[in-house]
């Protein structure tokens, strides 16, 4: 610790702090413009100058480190003059845009002029800068060169936080400009817009704008992926007009393209406002009493005729904890069935199973924040595209710890460019390189004290480097290097996506990777963790709220429906036809006696329903989500739902009452109190504080040796297809209907990524349409030919469900009931 004096006040701060950080931590104000807490100090504005005793001139407090006994003065006549000079220079030719500038009222330049009492300009330059606005890296962001003060925050954010490199400072002296270097490198995180201190970078997702004092700001949890970043919804006249990034949560203010630009769907006018009942083949609007009566009648009828096992329910993985809990209780207590599941299973279940076996508990109490301080990281998945904030954490470890990075994926993803080792494997070959590395680590002496060591050692014995290279084509040198780094590291973290287990042997894959984590101490105290990050906001919460006692899983419910054993299906926000195996879902939904769908829009599943109930959007309810780390965070109501729409608790009470049963409707706060009592790991949590659920019991460590890795090749289907980008929020868009007019309008359409050698063999050129055929279905899609993806592997990016990728899915891992989305045998025909 270092003790110094600032403006006469003695303060103590950690060594390595800058004077500015020391001042801010102790409530001492130093004016700044280019400084930003998420970025390394830039030092471009020269406003934060301070005087240090013993020095002849001022120094910038943002880039000067504290020293023991330093005496600092932050205010003086000279400092004021220098700050005013700097400000005058910035203001030369600054346009008088304040009345219409987006930033008016929250502009740092305005604040500085006010604070420093600047009221005249001594300097002028002949040339005025280009006015703008101009398109920036994408149609949703605009750049106003005349307003730009060249603080360089945007360029630094683009380079430091997301490592994209899409924008740059170009030119020398006064000619220097922020320029778009390569718009294809832009990942639409919006970081540049969020960090801009003035109105030089604005986003135009919403045509409606409002001044900061006219609008309301509500902090809530993002409904898109399982990282649970905090959003600040900006609400004006009943609409969400923008999103900010508050400093809480994993992102600390950073957001991804979905969080920042994907909010227009919350305002969408096309939603269902009244129940729809199928009469004479078409869905017509009816009043609530009629709808409720129909549900009650049908459910009661089937319960009488066929019993509770003929009823099933499937929940969306984006429902709140409270909603999921209530629905779970309703299905069990009012309906009497335990046939309850969610697509959350597809993005979570095998992880829980592997952890239960490996550490004695179905979750790990290690926060993703620990990734920042790892010195070696293993990443399996495309973090930049699917969970950007997790990728940012990895990048922090690389730059702040010099961490070594091992990336494994069939496609060369963005993070792979900064990796020492890139393992480009075919889906299905995971266990080869995983066990190969395990074998190398055991050879280096790891894992001896862990239960199951001898069995694991024997099981991985045959995965020698030559054997693995021979079977998979992965160069043995890369695996040996990876094993070396893992063995040397002090703190290893693993991050992977559901891709790893959405395969027929998926459960084995996760257990295998967990063995690696155990070998290097990633799950023990001080370890970097074994993290699953995925696409839906409440996979953890919905699962933990509805843990069943027997009952059919989602796929089994559909199989039973197709066979006529399940006759009534209640879909709570789930869009089955886009996310479950296609032909099975079609058959099941057609065979049902009575299908009820509750959703915001008329989804494909809803179009097949007998009864459709309107649902609340994520911005219209109070509740909580549990993110991938087990952090329970609040979902807050920002908008009023249309007239007549009910909260889940109320809806369930109404249905129960029409069914002749008792049910109490309570507020989400009251429900959460009940959750704390009934769901053990939630006993100590308060969603408004964002605490972690979990118990303090010590973790175990047990190896789970792999079983049977030899897989059959499907004859006639020479390629392996993985479907990517599935399970994103279907409210953004579905099947060509882009409901969200902001982000939804610019997400690229579906494409099939193919290696250029494969393309040559198929005589396919970039952009050609092809038909992809699996044993279960087919789709037609445009190709994207390149070098990043491994030969023999195809990747189907479904856009916003622009093609029916699930039509190709049919195989299911029998042990986890997770369909194989990431390893589908296919063949390709030119169109």
């Amino acid at each position: 610790m270092v003790t110094l004096k600032i403006d006469g006040k003695e303060i103590t701060v950690p060594e390595g702090s800058t004077i500015l950080e020391a001042a801010r931590a102790n409530g001492i104000h130093i004016p700044t413009l280019c400084y930003h807490p998420r970025l390394a100090p830039i030092g471009s504005c020269r406003i934060c100058l301070v005087e240090v005793e013993g020095l002849e001139g001022p120094v910038a407090s943002c880039t000067t480190y504290v020293q023991e006994g330093m005496v600092v003065r932050t205010q003086s006549e000279e400092l004021l003059r220098l700050r005013q000079e700097a400000l005058k220079l910035i203001l030369i030719n600054h346009p008088l845009d304040c009345p219409q500038c987006d930033m008016a009222g929250e502009c740092q330049l305005q604040n500085l002029v006010f604070e420093l009492g600047l009221d005249k300009q001594d300097y002028s330059l002949r040339e005025a800068k280009e006015r703008g606005p101009k398109d920036f890296t994408n149609p949703l962001i605009r750049y106003w060169p005349s307003r730009c003060v060249l603080c360089l925050r945007c360029v630094r954010a683009d380079h430091e936080i997301v490592g994209a490199g899409a924008i740059e400072l170009e030119g020398n002296g006064y000619e220097a400009r922020i320029a778009v270097k390569d718009e294809d490198l832009c990942i639409l995180c919006g970081e540049c817009v969020r960090v801009c201190p003035v109105g030089a970078l604005t986003e135009r997702t919403s045509p409606v704008r409002a001044r900061p004092w006219q609008r309301e700001e509500i902090t809530t949890t993002c409904p898109h992926c399982s990282l649970g970043c905090q959003l600040r919804l900006k609400v004006f006249e009943g609409k969400v007009i923008g999103v900010g990034g508050p400093e809480e949560g994993l992102g600390k203010g950073s957001l991804c393209q979905r969080g920042f630009f994907g909010f227009d769907f919350l305002n969408h006018p096309e939603r269902i406002r009244k129940p729809l009942l199928r009469k004479d083949g078409s869905l017509v609007e009816v009043e609530w009493p009629e709808a409720l009566a129909v549900i009650a009648a049908n459910v009661n009828r089937i319960l009488l005729d066929d019993g509770p096992q003929a009823v099933g329910g499937i929940l969306s993985a984006r429902l709140t904890n409270e909603e999921a809990y209530l629905i779970g209780r309703f299905m069990r207590e009012v309906v009497g069935t335990s046939n309850l599941d969610s697509s959350a299973r597809f993005n979570l279940e095998p992880y829980r199973g592997a952890l239960q076996g490996g550490v004695g508990r179905p979750y790990l109490p290690i926060s993703l924040e620990e990734v920042r301080s790892c010195d070696c990281l293993v990443v399996v998945g495309d973090l930049d595209r699917d969970n950007l904030i997790a990728a940012n954490l990895v990048r922090e470890a690389l730059t702040k710890k010099g961490a070594r990075l091992i990336v494994a994926y069939p496609r060369r993803v963005h993070l792979a460019e900064e990796a020492e080792c890139f393992i480009g494997f075919r889906p299905g070959d995971e266990l080869f390189w995983i066990n190969g590395i395990a074998r190398a680590l055991i050879e280096k002496g790891k894992g001896k004290d862990i239960e199951g060591f001898e069995e694991l050692k024997k099981a991985v014995e045959r995965y020698s480097p030559d054997f693995v290279e021979g079977r998979t084509g992965i160069p043995k040198g890369i695996m040996e290097e990876a094993a070396q780094y893992l063995a040397e590291a002090e703190r290893v973290g693993f991050i992977f996506t559901p891709f790893l287990f959405q395969q027929p042997q998926g459960v084995q894959n996760v257990k295998g990777l967990l063995n690696l984590a155990l070998l290097v101490g990633a799950t023990s105290e001080g370890g970097g963790g074994f993290h699953l990050v995925g696409p839906q906001s409440n996979v953890v919460g919905v699962t933990e709220m509805t843990l069943g006692d027997g009952g059919l899983s989602g796929v089994e419910i559909l199989e039973a429906a197709a066979e006529g054993r399940v006759k009534v299906l209640l879909l709570w926000g789930e869009e089955l036809l886009s996310t479950f195996p296609g032909s099975l879902a079609e058959k099941a939904l057609s065979a049902l006696d009575f299908l009820v769908v509750q959703d915001v829009y008329l989804t494909p599943s809803a179009k097949k329903a007998h009864l459709v109930l309107p649902a609340l959007t994520p911005a219209e309810k109070e509740g909580s989500y549990t993110n991938c780390e087990g952090r329970v965070q609040a979902v807050r109501k920002a908008l009023e739902p249309p007239e007549g729409l009910m909260e889940t608790g109320v809806l369930l009470r109404e249905i129960a009452s029409y069914m002749g049963k008792e049910w109490e409707a309570r507020s989400s706060k009251e429900v959460f109190s009940e959750i704390k009592g009934k769901v053990a790991p939630y006993a100590q949590v308060d969603p408004s504080e964002g605490g972690f659920r979990g118990s303090d019991e010590p973790l175990k460590a047990v190896f789970q040796p792999p079983e049977g890795t030899d897989l059959q090749e499907e004859k006639g289907y020479p390629y392996i297809l993985m479907i990517e980008g599935l399970f994103h929020n279907h409210l953004l868009g579905l099947g060509g209907e882009r409901r969200d007019k902001g982000l939804g309008a610019i997400v690229p359409g579906a494409y099939l990524e193919m290696n250029e050698e494969d393309a040559k063999e198929l005589a396919v050129e970039n952009g050609d349409k092809v038909k992809v055929i699996s044993p279960w279905g087919e789709v037609v899609v445009e190709t994207k030919v390149g070098r990043d993806i491994r030969k023999g592997v195809l990747s189907l990016f479904t856009g916003l469900y622009d093609v029916d990728g699930c039509a190709l899915v049919g195989e299911v891992d029998p042990s986890s009931k997770v369909p194989s989305f990431a390893k589908i045998p296919v063949r390709v025909e030119r169109q």
Partner: protein, 650 residues
């Protein structure tokens, strides 16, 4: 000798205006060269600490205008005061020089200049206003005259360039502050690109360069010089660790002309690389069976792992350069044949012959008497030239001597002695090498020089030495060793290694070839164009300078490539303005060890991990581990970015 009219520099004011001949003084602290180029006198100089005027025809007002314009061109644009402030001043001066000045302009510029000087982010902005402030103080009348007369001032002829103390000290003039800033900003790839504009051997230099830049680094005036060498090594290694595809210069369209290069050492490799980058076809003839010259076979692997150098050579050949190994010019191919075959030639044979000690017994061919270079060659090839010998004595004090003693432990020798005729302070070897050798257990004996080799039969058993004392300084500035009569003593040893210097072997050049050799048997070249006495034949490196440092050879090779390019295009073979300006700056001196730097010190250099002495002395594993990414970024942020602009009026 043109007389100085006015000079202000390093706090010394010499104002000879209006003074009689007896009163006039010459400045001592500022020595501006007479001429820019032969026949082109320097009429005035304006730089980061003041200005100097020799010709009354020079308009100081116009010179200020030109200077500020140059500053604006150099300004990186990353801070407000320099980016905008110097533009305001430049525009104001431009207006004044066009006859549209106003009296208020002067105080406005003065105030703004003071503000920029105090608040700019880097040394460019901090130094740019200085000469203007000096001019405004001492030439105010001239400014007032231009303003009140409202007549345009004719534009003079100027050359301007930005330099930095480190950049100027570097024999290759690498753009150091820029590549360090790239590291600070996390753009390691761009840093390496900037480095490759100046040298093709970053991984090598990052390990073995003598780093004159660091000895001219202003940061040392605050706490400790920036680890420039280590930072260069980091970005070169980073490309390897992360398996990145090297970004090499895209060869311009292929040219017909062919260039022959003799010697695949640092000079020859650099020359070949830059010529290939320009599209020329280059063939290198190398005597040994591997590339790198002294860097490969002279520098041991624990300092410079072979694979690093090999990779850099592979990148050079990937540009299309052909290397023919095991071809000795003079023996296998005649020099005159090369003169016929190629449109231009570059001689880079280095200095690989050992300088004899001239003591009795040296010529007898005793077993165990092995010249330093031969010793290192053998070991680098993987064999011990004299396994029976267990005790080693090396005579010398340079890096070759250090390589010999440290390598001896690594091949299993038990006792290793270093014998040097002066004291530790005068040893020319790298201080880090000496220290690491001490840690590894080398016995140093100072102030002694050999008088004869002691042998038994045909084997060396010892060396007789005479004690020395230090007398007057010699031409190198070091105190000359003076023998003390009657002070002979013997050091017993099995292996005696003279490592006191190297000589150039130019026997392959015959008189009829027309390439002049000096008395010391080096190639004579023009110091700015590297051309020999024969048109189209160029040379650089140790064979021109005598044994010198790698970075100078590499720098010479690159500059020679530029000159060869001019020659082959039929243009005048003359040094570029950049080169000439740096020469002017070198004469003036860029680094001022007395300067008072405003800043907070106390941040010492990042410590690089090294292998412990007991572990490293028995293996050829690389001793220094290099920086991690976070260390490199922290170290790079210590750089003060000492760019400053110098301008000459011609």
């Amino acid at each position: 000798m043109a007389e100085v009219i006015f000079s202000y520099w390093a706090g010394e004011l010499v104002d000879n205006r209006g003074k009689g001949p007896e009163e006039r003084k010459e400045p001592e602290k500022l020595r501006v060269p007479e001429e820019y180029r032969p026949g082109v006198p320097i009429k005035a100089f304006m730089g980061w600490d003041g200005l100097c005027v020799r010709d009354p025809a020079v308009s100081v007002v116009d010179m200020c205008r030109a200077y500020m314009e140059a500053v604006q061109k150099e300004s990186c644009g990353k801070c407000f005061p320099c980016r905008v402030g110097t533009k305001v001043i430049a525009e104001t001066l431009d207006r004044i020089c066009q006859g549209e000045g106003r009296v208020e302009d002067l105080s406005l510029m003065e105030g703004l200049a003071q503000a920029i000087r105090k608040s700019a982010k880097c040394n460019l902005g901090q130094t740019a206003p200085v000469p203007l402030l000096v001019a405004l103080e001492h030439f105010r009348d001239e400014f007032m005259e231009v303003i009140t007369k409202k007549k345009a001032v004719p534009k003079g002829t100027y050359k301007a360039k930005a330099t930095a103390p480190c950049l100027n000290a570097c024999p290759s003039h690498l753009n150091i502050p820029t590549y360090i800033e790239c590291i600070k900003e996390g753009d390691f790839t761009k840093s390496l690109q900037v480095i490759r504009e100046g040298t093709c051997l970053p991984g090598t230099l990052g390990r073995v360069c003598v780093r004159p830049c660091e000895f001219n680094c202003r940061r040392m005036l605050l706490d400790e010089a920036v680890g420039i060498k280590a930072l260069k090594r980091f970005v070169a290694d980073y490309e390897i660790w992360k398996k990145k595809k090297p970004l090499l210069p895209a060869p311009e369209e292929k040219k017909d002309k062919k260039v022959g290069v003799i010697g695949a050492g640092p000079a020859g490799l650099s020359c070949a690389y830059y010529l290939a980058a320009k599209g020329y076809r280059v063939t290198i003839y190398e005597r040994l069976d591997e590339p790198g010259g002294m860097a490969a076979v002279g520098i041991p692997d624990y300092r410079l792992p072979r694979h690093i150098l090999r990779r850099e050579v592979d990148l050079i050949t990937s540009l299309g350069v052909e290397i023919r190994y095991n071809v000795e010019i003079g023996k296998d191919v005649k020099f005159s044949e090369l003169l016929e075959e190629f449109d231009a030639l570059f001689i880079g044979v280095g200095a690989q012959d050992s300088t004899p000690m001239r003591v009795e017994g040296e010529e007898k061919g005793y077993k165990g008497f092995i010249p330093g270079i031969k010793y290192l060659f053998a070991i680098n090839k993987g064999y011990d030239p004299y396994p029976e010998g267990k005790r080693v004595a090396v005579v010398g004090g340079g890096n070759v001597a250090m390589d010999c003693v440290r390598t001896s432990f690594r091949i299993g020798k038990e006792e290793v002695n270093l014998l040097y005729r002066r004291t530790r302070k005068e040893m020319p070897a790298d201080d880090v090498e000496i220290q690491e050798a001490e840690e590894e257990g080398v016995n140093f004996t100072f102030l002694c020089a050999p008088t004869r080799v002691i042998a038994e039969g045909d084997r060396v058993v010892g060396v007789e030495l005479q004690r020395m004392e230090l007398g007057e300084p010699d031409s190198s500035g070091r105190r000359r060793p003076v023998p003390i009569p009657g002070s002979e003593f013997v050091v017993e040893t099995d292996i005696l290694i003279p490592a006191i210097g190297q000589r150039v072997d130019l026997s392959f050049i015959e008189e009829k070839d027309g390439v002049e050799k000096s008395r010391r048997s080096t190639v004579v070249v023009d110091e700015d164009t590297f051309q020999t006495s024969r048109k189209g034949v160029f040379s650089a490196g140790d064979c021109v300078t005598g044994p010198d440092v790698l970075v100078r050879a590499a720098g010479g090779g690159r500059l020679a490539a530029e000159m060869i390019d001019l020659f082959l295009r039929g243009e005048e073979v003359a040094p570029s303005d950049d080169h000439l300006m740096e020469k002017v700056f070198s004469a003036i001196g860029v680094f001022d060890p007395e300067e008072r730097v405003t800043g907070v010190g106390g941040r010492m250099r990042e410590k690089m991990e090294v292998l412990p002495p007991e572990v490293r002395k028995r293996s050829f594993d690389e001793v220094e581990k290099g920086y991690r990414a976070d260390q490199a970024v922290r170290e790079a942020s210590r750089c003060l970015r000492c760019y400053r602009v110098g301008l000459v009026a011609l």
